[in-house]
């Protein structure tokens, strides 16, 4: 066994390839990454804290509200966009350090997604008033011009009809 390991390490040096992977995944399939059941006893709580690499005093599971978080730790939510961009992060694309526990909805608080702590640029009142004033302008213009339509200075076209006489402006012979 030791000879095999040594062979792998040596071949990695000389082949220029990364060599064979000698570690293994903690889980093999999606279901293996599922959180365990919500810890009820103190012993279960300690075991869950150890599983997630947290100290028992800082481990607090997500409240058991029926959404299936199980024993996953309740990590404080700080969106990637709110984090310091000049810190020497281990994963700059996620602004995250190695081993740092992830929020349970980490995937929607990335740099390209939601910034949870962002304030809207304009207040709701401002937005509503802007919308209302633009709409009022156009609707008001529409109703103002409803009876003031552009037209040629013409009377309607004359069509011959029974019992209707149309005249020219000439004298009769």
């Amino acid at each position: 066994m030791a000879a095999i390991s040594r062979g792998i390490l040596i071949s990695r040096q000389y082949s220029g390839l990364l060599g064979l992977q000698t570690t293994r995944y903690a889980g093999a399939w999606n279901k293996d990454w599922m959180p365990g059941p919500y810890p009820k006893t103190e012993e279960e709580r300690l075991r869950a804290a150890r599983k997630y690499g947290l100290r028992p005093d800082e481990y607090k599971p997500v409240p058991d509200d029926g959404l299936g978080a199980g024993d996953y730790p309740d990590v404080p939510l700080v969106s990637a966009e709110s984090r310091n961009p000049f810190t020497n992060w281990d994963y700059p694309e996620h602004r995250r350090n190695f081993g740092e526990p992830l929020h349970q909805n980490f995937d929607i608080y990335g740099l390209d997604r939601i910034n949870e702590s962002q304030e809207p640029r304009f207040s709701s009142t401002h937005q509503f008033l802007s919308f209302a004033s633009v709409m009022a302008f156009f609707i008001g213009t529409y109703y103002f011009l409803e009876n003031r339509k552009m037209h040629w200075p013409l009377m309607p076209k004359q069509f011959p009809n029974e019992g209707v006489a149309h005249y020219t402006f000439e004298k009769p012979e």
Partner: protein
Amino acid sequence: MGQVMSEFVGDPATRPDYTKTASFDPLYGFSEGRKERVMIASLEEMQSADLPQTSRDYCAHLAIEHRACRQNVWPLAYKCAHEKHQYLNCQYEDFVLRMKEYERERRLLERSTRKAAKAAREEMND
């Protein structure tokens, strides 16, 4: 004043309604009378030529001639230049007549407004 401006400026009472026919008697003010417009094409002719309703005006006989000419000489439609010219001239005269009718209506409305104002003044003086 331009037609668009007059929709906003001026008295709306003297603004003719361009969607309706003249409100005054067509012979009012014509002591010698007016020449009546004559419809030359008959209903049967227009139906036979399958003339669209919008073309069944006082120029319909020229429209029929023009269409018949085009049908006879097609595809050498340039040979119907004379018929086309006649037909479009008739439409032009019709357009001018409608402009004149509009102006008559406007002037009569202004006149009736003046007359009403004068009657009110005289009533005040009496």
